[in-house]
């Protein structure tokens, strides 16, 4: 099976500073890989490289076995890669369905006017499928709870991603119950055969959700472990570089 995303010897430097060095990782369809590491380890830089915001200084990115190079985030999006940003990137005063189709609004012939009916119904069926409970597809984002907003941001990514979803701290701002709901949602994406790369500071969450864990420290790839075959102590030791066995 071809990996959905294949990163090979990725290196990125800003001026003289190396942010990522020799990073290699394969992500398979229906797999959740967690990216962990301390602040400044290079997790966000890596997400930005995969989503087309930064271009790697050297190294190869391949999607389904074909080498790709993204000139910007739109290019990555058109290849089926979606990002759920930490700040969610939602327009608060607009209805849910307009956010779902932000920048990719559906129009109707012959005048090219917005097809709000279809956007509304597609949004409704998507949130129903994913069990994101909101009053309606026409609700304004501002009137939703943090968990509902996160749900919408993930649903949007799910709707457009054909290959890969990058999640940046999806539950950092949520309470216990909402976190559980969002984790359930993320786990359900596996059935859609999407590859998922998730950044999280919560090791509990990482162990609940991921299939594999990739550890970064100061831009260096320390190692990749199967979640089932490792434990928190090992991962913490890898993150901090301190071995206390």
């Amino acid at each position: 099976m071809n990996p959905t995303l294949s990163l090979k010897d990725i290196q990125k430097s800003f001026g003289g500073v190396t942010a990522i060095q020799n990073f290699s990782l394969d992500l398979f369809p229906g797999e959740i890989v967690a990216l962990v590491g301390d602040n400044g380890a290079g997790k966000s830089t890596l997400i930005k490289i995969v989503s087309g915001v930064h271009r790697p200084t050297s190294g190869d990115i391949a999607l389904d076995g074909a080498s790709v190079s993204f000139s910007d985030a739109s290019a990555a999006r058109s290849h089926g890669i979606e990002v759920v940003y930490q700040d969610l990137a939602l327009a608060d005063e607009q209805p849910v369905y307009m956010n779902m189709f932000l920048g990719r609004e559906l129009t109707r012939k012959p005048f090219g006017l917005l097809d709000k009916t279809r956007m509304r119904s597609e949004t409704q069926s998507l949130v129903d499928q994913l069990d994101v409970r909101i009053p309606s597809a026409s609700s304004t984002i501002r009137d939703l709870s943090g968990g509902q907003r996160q749900g919408i941001a993930i649903a949007r990514a799910t709707h457009w991603a054909s290959k890969l979803i990058l999640l940046d701290e999806p539950t950092a701002a949520l309470g216990v119950a909402e976190t559980a709901k969002v984790e359930e949602l993320v786990a359900s994406l596996k059935e859609r055969n999407l590859a998922i790369l998730i950044i999280s500071h919560s090791l509990d969450q990482v162990f609940r959700l991921s299939d594999r864990i990739c550890v970064l420290r100061r831009g260096e790839q320390i190692g990749v472990r199967k979640t089932a075959e490792t434990d928190k102590n090992e991962i913490i030791a890898m993150i901090t570089g301190v071995h206390n066995q």
């Binding site: 990002v83 939602l90 327009a91 005063e93 607009q94 006017l113």
Partner: protein, 317 residues
């Protein structure tokens, strides 16, 4: 019942206030000025005719404010546009005058837009500066002289003419409001304008070209001010540098009373129309009541304060 009450409480106060305000002012004048001819169809038509340029500028401003920008220069654009049209028609055909007037508006708007979108200067400061700049240019264009407009086709289309008995200024207003409303509510451009004003970051990461939207809304503002200049020139059959001078406050007030948020992401074209008519009604009523110009200005200022207070109350919610 409980649900209905909650719904009522959550109803967009800012958006509904214009309807109540409009109705309240209308009824107030209808009763108090009944004997002074407020309710005559002639007077009511007059209100629409007088507010036509302001309504059209208000439409442009709804787009600008919704995108999180503001245009303060449209009053000066009106004068430059009217004068350009009048000067062009002194020796040229009507079409040249229309092109000169609209063209001046679009160019100045695009000039504002380029500075805001690509040099990242705040639109408040850019248009504050160009307001002065083009007010000066309007003054120097014809050495403060007013230029007559005698082209009858022009004054018909843009001023005193009628189509099927409907005054042309009423038709301009209706067409502009309908077209503006459809673009605002039912096109991708309208959606992008709202998204940019709501969250420029969300818009940008969604692939919307944020600078282009900013350029477009300010150009649109210039275009509507250019059209307003033509309408003034057509109705008054002359162009003068003072045209549009007093519209700044009226138009901004109309737009904000009409439910458009000062800081973007939310607005209404129909609201702006009602806001503009409300301002026209106020002017008209205050004149019929025999108030001095100074008193009219005071009342208008107070109304704007009230509108801004309600608008900000909504934002803090």
């Amino acid at each position: 019942m409980e649900q209905a009450l909650t719904k009522l409480r959550n109803m967009d106060l800012q958006r509904s206030v214009i309807y109540f305000g409009f109705l309240a002012i209308f009824l107030f004048f209808a009763f108090t000025l009944h004997d002074d001819g407020f309710l005559t169809s002639r007077n009511l038509t007059n209100i629409v005719l007088q507010t036509a340029p302001a309504t059209i500028m208000a439409i442009g401003l709804v787009f600008a404010l919704s995108a999180g920008e503001i245009d303060l220069s449209f009053g000066s654009i009106v004068a430059v546009s009217a004068l350009s049209a009048a000067v062009a028609m002194q020796s040229g055909p009507m079409i040249l005058g229309v092109a000169a007037g609209l063209g001046a508006g679009i160019l100045i708007g695009a000039f504002n837009g380029l500075l805001v979108a690509y040099l990242r200067l705040p639109s408040f400061l850019v248009t504050l500066a160009t307001m002065g700049l083009f007010a000066g240019i309007a003054r120097s264009m014809t050495d403060l002289r007013s230029i007559p407009v005698i082209n009858e086709t022009f004054t018909g289309i843009f001023g005193s003419g009628r189509l099927f008995g409907v005054p042309s200024l009423v038709i301009w207003t209706i067409v502009a409001v309908i077209v503006g409303h459809i673009i605002y509510r039912n096109t991708r451009f309208g959606a992008h304008v709202l998204a940019v004003g709501d969250s420029a970051r969300a818009a940008q990461v969604s692939g919307i070209k944020v600078p282009r939207v900013r350029l477009m809304v300010l150009t649109l503002c210039g275009a509507t001010a250019g059209l307003a200049g033509l309408l003034y020139a057509g109705r008054i059959q002359a162009a003068k540098y003072t045209m549009g001078e007093s519209d700044l406050m009226t138009v901004i007030a109309a737009v904000i009373v009409g439910g458009t948020a000062l800081n973007g992401g939310k607005g209404s074209i129909i609201g702006a129309l009602l806001g503009s008519l409300m301002m026209g009604m106020l002017n008209n009523g205050l004149i019929l009541m025999g108030l001095q110009v100074s008193d009219q200005m005071i009342v208008r200022g107070l109304i704007i304060l009230l509108a801004v207070a309600i608008s900000l109350r909504e934002i803090r919610r």
